[in-house]
């Protein structure tokens, strides 16, 4: 038993290498989700019939597909159509495109929950619609989205092990490789779990601090 515990610590360096990959996947996927999610938010709020239709459709489809399925379509399916998608690109696209749908929902909720009087007040001072959005609505929407964004971030982090399915060496794959060659199965997977949990806690505390830093004094977002 103590052998297993010792082994757990011995696997740490390899698992940490995997952790770096996991973090990289998470950050890139979230970034893609943001880059694609924001335009969808705009389309849904300010777009015409076509724009709103596209945005609605995108959210509907991407929320309805399991990530693993999307992953296989990208990694295994597309090459058969002549489009080569590498394993890393596949996982980032798979997680990122789905994240875009959820992030769009978060930002839309945040913007819509800001009272129209805020926009009216900005316009009545002579601010353009553009400036009113960027100096008045956006800063408030940003703070309103933080809880939802934190949640989405942790979801993507916990889904990053799906990269295993396309052969990327992150924490879980490292663990599996170790168990197939050296045994100590339970100890190794326990070590993986602890590492994932530690990453989760790390980012959670990070977001707590960000939330505190940007909090508006005295303001509780309940309308």
């Amino acid at each position: 038993m103590s052998q297993s515990v010792f082994f757990m610590f011995a696997t740490l360096p390899l698992l940490l290498q995997g952790a770096v990959v996991a973090i990289l996947i998470t950050l890139l996927s979230i970034a893609l989700g943001f880059a694609a999610g924001v335009p969808i938010t705009f389309l849904r709020i300010y777009g015409g019939r076509l724009g709103k239709g596209f945005a609605n459709g995108y959210e509907w489809v991407l929320k309805g597909l399991p990530v693993l399925v999307t992953l296989f379509i990208l990694y295994l399916g597309f090459p058969k159509l002549g489009i080569q998608i590498g394993s890393f690109a596949a996982i980032v696209l798979g997680l990122g495109l789905r994240s875009a749908a959820y992030q769009a929902q978060i930002y839309r909720g945040a913007v819509l929950s800001i009272s129209t009087e805020q926009t009216e007040a900005g316009l009545s001072l002579g601010l353009s619609r553009f400036r009113t959005f960027f100096t008045i609505i956006l800063p408030q929407a940003f703070r309103l989205s933080l809880p939802g964004f934190t949640n989405e971030f942790t979801i993507v982090l916990k889904d990053s092990p799906l990269a295993y399915a396309v052969g990327i060496v992150e924490i879980l794959k490292q663990g599996r490789d170790i168990t197939t060659t050296r045994g100590h199965t339970f100890a190794v997977y326990l070590a993986c779990s602890i590492l994932y949990f530690a990453l989760f806690q790390l980012f959670y505390f990070l977001f707590q601090r960000i939330n505190k830093k940007f909090a508006i004094p005295g303001f509780i977002f309940s309308k």
Partner: protein, 260 residues
């Protein structure tokens, strides 16, 4: 009195099938204060929002000091700077301190330097008695304080016309007085104002004319003395009668009296 600051001619506005404004016309000379009263949902707030084109009217024209506000090519940015608006729910920018709420328009629209904007903002905050609260965020202020900051924010743009949309309706009774006092001082110092309100004490003390609106139309208008003592239209009589019942007691006890 002076030249007409505002002329509203036959404005109509519908939201879908609902006709909210059905031909409203009036004018306002420099320094005049008009109070608009009437039952809720009769288009008073909509009318105010037509004046600064937040809700453009479907028909009719509005002239601000001779400029056609409703014209297709109207420079809304320039026009809106001349009209200050105060909102029922204050509409302060929650992520900014009180002083920054006032400087926002000065820096972004009037392109003043930060320093000049701060000076002007402090001046306006002093005018409404909020000079010691500049560093506070809206959530840290009481309703009456928030509204006073809202008034300062509108005044900082040096408007020629101030629009008040039920400025005290969302306030606790004890806080109404401080806001009305600021508005009364403004009126006495010659600001041209349109106020949609239920505060009859305010109307009696500073209004040049009271306009009674119902179902998107002006049913009656006249000086406070005429309107309160001798209303002609049956609906005006009914409405004022009810209002006096509600607010009459405070009138008699002098609680809503103004510092002379």
């Amino acid at each position: 009195m002076g030249e007409a600051i505002l002329r509203v001619e036959g404005i109509e506005k519908s939201f879908g099938k609902l006709k909210v404004l059905d031909g409203v016309s009036f004018s306002l000379d420099k320094g005049e204060v008009k109070v608009v009263i009437g039952p809720s949902g009769t288009g008073k707030s909509t009318m105010l929002r037509c004046i600064n084109m937040l809700n453009p009217p479907d028909r009719g024209r509005i002239f601000l000091g001779g400029l056609d506000v409703t014209a297709a090519k109207a420079d809304l940015v320039a026009i809106r700077q001349k009209i200050g608006m105060v909102f029922q729910h204050f509409a302060l920018f929650n992520h900014l301190r009180a002083i920054d709420n006032v400087t926002l328009g000065l820096v972004q629209v009037k392109k003043m330097s930060r320093k000049a904007a701060m000076e002007k903002a402090m001046f306006e905050l002093s005018r409404v008695g909020m000079q010691d609260h500049g560093d506070k965020y809206p959530a840290q202020l009481s309703g009456g304080q928030k509204q006073r900051v809202g008034i300062a924010r509108a005044l900082a743009m040096d408007p020629i016309l101030m629009l008040f949309d039920e400025p005290t309706s969302a306030l606790d009774p004890e806080l109404i007085g401080e806001v009305l006092t600021v508005m009364q001082d403004l009126a006495r110092n010659g600001m041209t104002m349109i106020c949609v309100t239920h505060e009859m004490g305010f109307a009696k003390s500073v209004a040049n004319e009271i306009i009674y609106m119902e179902h998107g139309k002006i049913l009656e208008e006249g000086p406070p003395s005429d309107m309160f003592n001798n209303p002609q239209h049956p609906r005006t009589k009914e409405f004022l009668g009810k209002i006096t019942q509600l607010y009459g007691e405070t009138e008699k006890s002098g609680a809503a009296k103004v510092r002379e």
